[in-house]
Amino acid sequence: MKKILIVDDDPNIRDYLVALLEDNGYDTCTASNVKDGLKIVKEYKPDLITLDLEMPGEWGPRFYRQLSQDNELKNTPVIVISGLSGKDYAISKAVATLTKPFDKDELLSIIKENTL
């Protein structure tokens, strides 16, 4: 079963993504901030990460910066899910950038494509 880590400070988004992804056969794990996300990502070793940009404390791009310095995790696909303006530019190596509210079929198709 493919593993997805969801990093988002909004509990409604986290719950929605967990329900959506588990219903579609993925194992999920969540983090509400960058600090927890970095801790979890090392233990959980996900196949893909969905990442919010603006969060209390450190922002999503800081998470990605740390991730890209870890040889084991640096190639983990990341999907940015955010409502922030200019979000397309935040993480250039992200496999996709989705705007909140996002289309669930589009998200599932991107995840499927990147977790083969």
Partner: protein, 298 residues
């Protein structure tokens, strides 16, 4: 580090990403934020008629209109101002760069923040050069200026990774002092970078690799003697020399390092005193960088 920040804004979309940087910076550093707007552009000398920034229509300037514009700015930045207690809003009439410089002389800020050009996207100049206000302010500013020229250069969650681009000029020495001061005050990482220009100086001839390697070694020695020797206990730094087109290499290096800020000297080469130009490398870095750029001119 920055106690007073002057944010010169058009209060339009062109300044939105600069606003994101400046409000976060002011909040993090506890700085006083002076939001400054220059009303339109006078239609002719000594005229009291200006072009409204939003409607592009001619408006007669009076106290009522100025108060209305102040209120508009307050509304435009309502979300950000809700979390910013230490701020003031001022509206002036005149030619933008002169008024910004006048305000800077009066309030003596530690930093001036400017957004991108408000020129039309249809304008061919829009994508290849900085706005004239920015160039004129940068050239005569009494303090460093921070420019956020495009959405990619906006605030992405922090300030901890600084790239200092140098051409080893005297102006670059000043910029280094400034970059080190910021890096020390935020306990961040400082990346010292020199781009070895292998294009213009050789009249189209390609430089032999042995010469490039020699110049790279020489540049590292320069970095050690000019900058590393000044850093004493500050150990959180790296240094790199890449060959290529300087502004492209700086932008690439910044992207590679996931940097939050570039610090450079803008008048590191002799410039035309009458022209507004700030130097082609600085201008191109400002246009292309994916993080804010601080230009230090003295």
């Amino acid at each position: 580090m920055f106690k007073k920040i002057l944010f010169a804004t058009s209060a339009t979309e062109a300044s939105d990403h600069a606003a994101r940087v400046v409000f976060n910076m002011a909040g993090t550093l506890g700085a006083n934020l002076n939001i400054f707007h220059v009303l339109g552009v006078p239609t002719r000398g000594f005229s009291q008629v200006v072009l409204d920034v939003k409607t592009k229509k001619e408006v007669a300037v009076d106290g009522e209109y100025i108060s209305w514009v102040e209120e508009e700015i307050k509304n435009y930045y309502a979300n950000q101002l809700a979390t910013c207690s230490n701020y003031s809003i001022k509206v002036a009439v005149g030619v933008p760069h002169r008024e910004i410089l006048r305000q800077a002389r009066e309030t003596e800020p530690d930093l001036i923040v400017l957004g991108g050009t408000t020129g039309s996207k249809k304008d061919s100049v829009y994508k290849s050069s900085t706005g004239s206000t920015l160039q004129r302010v940068a050239k005569a500013s009494p303090c460093p200026i921070l420019v956020v020229n495009r959405p990619a250069a906006s605030f992405w969650g922090g300030l901890s990774n600084i790239v200092f681009g140098t051409d080893f000029s005297k102006a670059s020495d000043k910029a280094f002092d400034f970059a080190l001061k910021i890096a020390t005050s935020i306990n961040g990482e400082l990346h010292i970078f020199h781009a070895l220009d292998i294009t213009s100086k050789n009249m189209g001839m390609s430089m032999p690799q042995d010469e490039i390697d020699h110049k790279i070694r020489e540049s590292y020695r320069m970095i050690r003697s000019k900058y590393v020797s000044k850093m004493r206990d500050y150990k959180n730094y790296s240094m790199n020399v890449w060959e290529g087109v300087p502004y492209i290499e700086i932008v690439k290096y910044t992207r590679e390092k996931h940097a939050d800020l570039i610090v450079m000297a803008h008048n590191s080469r002799k410039l035309d005193e009458d022209g507004p130009k700030i130097g082609s490398n600085m201008e191109q870095v400002i246009m292309r960088a994916n993080c804010p750029v601080i230009s230090v001119n003295r």
